[in-house]
C-alpha cells in the first residue's frame, strides 16, 4: 500500500520548459485525469499549505502551484517550504506544521485504507482494534486534520474494500461523526472532495453523504457503483472530469513528473 500521510518524493522541478516544437501530444491518461482532479481541489484556496500524500496528489499540487494557484505553499516533504523550483522560502518543522493545521491554513489530501459514505476515513487498522487483522499506519494526524483544516482524500484503487459501509477505526472524522460530536467538531470540519482512479466525489447532498461529482473520461457510472460498497448519490447527469490543457499536459509530463510516478500509482 502507499504511505497514506507522507508526500512522495518528486524530482526537482527546475527543468527548463519543454521545446514547443514537439509533436502533437498523446491523449491524457487516466493518471493525468486524476492529477487534474487532485489539482482542482486546491483551486481558489488562497495562501494555504497544500499537503499532498501520494504521487498523484503531489503532481496535482505542483501543477496547481505552477498554474492557477500560484499563492499555494508547498513543502519538500521534509521541513522546508519550497517554491516550484525547489528553492526554500520557509521553515516548517512538524511542530509548526501542526500549528498550520490547527490554524486552518492548510488543505491536506490524505490517503484512505477505508472511507465510508459520510467521509469517515481509516488508516489505522483493519478488523478489531484490540487485536487487528491488519495493523496499518495508525491514526496519524487524521483526527486533528479533519477537525481543523479542509481534508480531501485520494484513493488510487477504487474498490469495495476501500469504499465501505462502515470503517473499522475512524481516523479522519466524517460528516455524521462530526455532527454527533458537536460544534467543536463541526466548526472547521470540511471534506472538499474524494478523488479516486474512477472519479471525483463530494458531499454536496442534504445529509452530507457522498455524491458522484464527476467521472474520469472512460469510466461509467456502473463501474463506480460496482466498485463502491455503499450507494453514493448519482445525479441524473454526471459530468466528466475536465480535460487537461495542452500546457498542463506538458507541465505534468516534461517538468513535474518526467519519471512517470503518477503512472505507477494509476497504471494506464
Amino acid at each position: 500500500m502507499t504511505d497514506a500521510t507522507r508526500p512522495s518524493p518528486l524530482p526537482p522541478t527546475g527543468a527548463p520548459l519543454p521545446d514547443t516544437r514537439t509533436p502533437p501530444l498523446l491523449p491524457p491518461t487516466r493518471a493525468e485525469y486524476c492529477v487534474i482532479a487532485c489539482a482542482e481541489a486546491w483551486r481558489d484556496n488562497g495562501e494555504v499549505l497544500a499537503s499532498p500524500m501520494g504521487a498523484v496528489p503531489s503532481v496535482g499540487a505542483r501543477l496547481a502551484r505552477r498554474t492557477f494557484a500560484p499563492e499555494l505553499l508547498l513543502t519538500d516533504g521534509e521541513a522546508m517550504l519550497v517554491g516550484p523550483d525547489g528553492t526554500p522560502e520557509g521553515w516548517l518543522p512538524y511542530r509548526r506544521h501542526l500549528t498550520m493545521v490547527t490554524g486552518g491554513r492548510r488543505h491536506v489530501m490524505m490517503g484512505a485504507s477505508q472511507i465510508d459514505r459520510f467521509g469517515n476515513q481509516n488508516i489505522s487498522c483493519i478488523g478489531d482494534w484490540e487485536r487487528p487483522a491488519r495493523q496499518l499506519l495508525g491514526v496519524r494526524g487524521a483526527p486533528v486534520n479533519t477537525l481543523n483544516n479542509p481534508v480531501s482524500y485520494w484513493v488510487p484503487k477504487h474498490s469495495t474494500r476501500v469504499f465501505v459501509e462502515k470503517v473499522d477505526m475512524i481516523s479522519g472524522v466524517g460528516y455524521d461523526s462530526a455532527a454527533a460530536a458537536g460544534p467543536t467538531a463541526t466548526r472547521f470540519h470540511r471534506i472538499p472532495r474524494v478523488v479516486s482512479n474512477l472519479g471525483v466525489f463530494d458531499f454536496a447532498t442534504p445529509d452530507h453523504s457522498m455524491r458522484l461529482a464527476s467521472l474520469h473520461p472512460g469510466v461509467t457510472v456502473e463501474e463506480v457503483l460496482a466498485a463502491t460498497g455503499f450507494e453514493p448519490t448519482v445525479p441524473d447527469e454526471v459530468p466528466y472530469t475536465r480535460e487537461p490543457t495542452p500546457a498542463e499536459l506538458e507541465l505534468i509530463r516534461e517538468v513535474i513528473d518526467p519519471q512517470g510516478l503518477r503512472d505507477r500509482e494509476v497504471p494506464g
Binding site: 511542530r95 491488519r134 467543536t184
Partner: protein, 284 residues
Amino acid sequence: MSDKTMTADEVVSRLRSGMTLGIGGWGSRRKPMALVRALLRSEITDLTIVSYGGPDVGMLAAAGRIRKLVAAFVTLDSIPLEPHYRAARQSGAFELTEVDEAMFMWGLHAAANRLPFMPVRAGIGSDVMRVNPGLRTVTSPYEDPSTGIRETFVAMPALRMDAALVHVNRADRSGNGQYLGPDPYFDDLFCEAADDAYVSCERLVDRFDDAVPQTLLVNRHSVTGVVETPSGAHPTSCVPDHDRDEPFQGLYATTPWPEFTERFLHGDEKAYQSAAQAWHEERR
C-alpha cells in the same frame, strides 16, 4: 560544569523494568538507536514506550519489551508499515494508547509545563475516543467571541515520562545538544517532559563556536547523561551526518527477528556497526 558523559550501557543501568520511556525522533528519523540497542542487550522489560514510532518501537516490540505503547503511528517512512510492530499488534502483544499526532504533542507540552492536560481540537468525533475510554473532555470557561459557544475540547493528559532517550548531531559534556538537520522533531520537549533525559550524539564537542543559535535544541538543565555514539541513529537518518541506511532498513524489515538478532545484535554497539558494515561489503 559537571561532566555528564557516560556509556550507553551506563544509561541503561539507570533504567528499570516497568518504567515509562520517551523516545525522540520521528518515524525512521534521528532515533536514538544505539541507546535502544543497549536497552535490547539488557533484561529491562515491561516498558511503557512513548514515541512517534519507528524501528525503535519495532525492535522493542519484536524483543517483547513493551507492556504499553503510546503512539499516533509506527512507520519506517520509506517502508510505510513497520513489520515487527504490525506482528506484535496483530498478536495482541501489548496495550496501545493510540492518539493523534497533535494530541501527542500537546501531551508532551503539558508534561513539560507541569500541567495535567492541554485542551486540543482533535480526537472528538474519531475512534480515538472509543479506544481510549479514559480520555476526558474539558469545556472552555470562555464564550467564543464569534459564535457565543463555550466549546468542548479533548483534555489531552500530560505524557510525563521517567526517562527520555534522544539522539542529536552534536552535544557537549554538560548535556547541551545541537541538531543540524531540517527538523528538531520534539526532542527538546521529550527531555523537558521526563524526569531524566539521556542524549546520544554523533560527536561530542568541547564548545559550540559559531553555532547557528537555533540549532542548540536541547539545554543541559534538562539532561542527565550524554553518550557519544557515532552512527548511533543507524539505520534511521541523522542528516547531515548520515542518511537513512535504506538497504539495511530493508534488510531489517524483511529478516525474521531471531535471525536479525543473531547476526547484528548479539554483541555490543561496535559489533553492531561492524556487522552492518560487513553486510554492506558483502553486497558489493
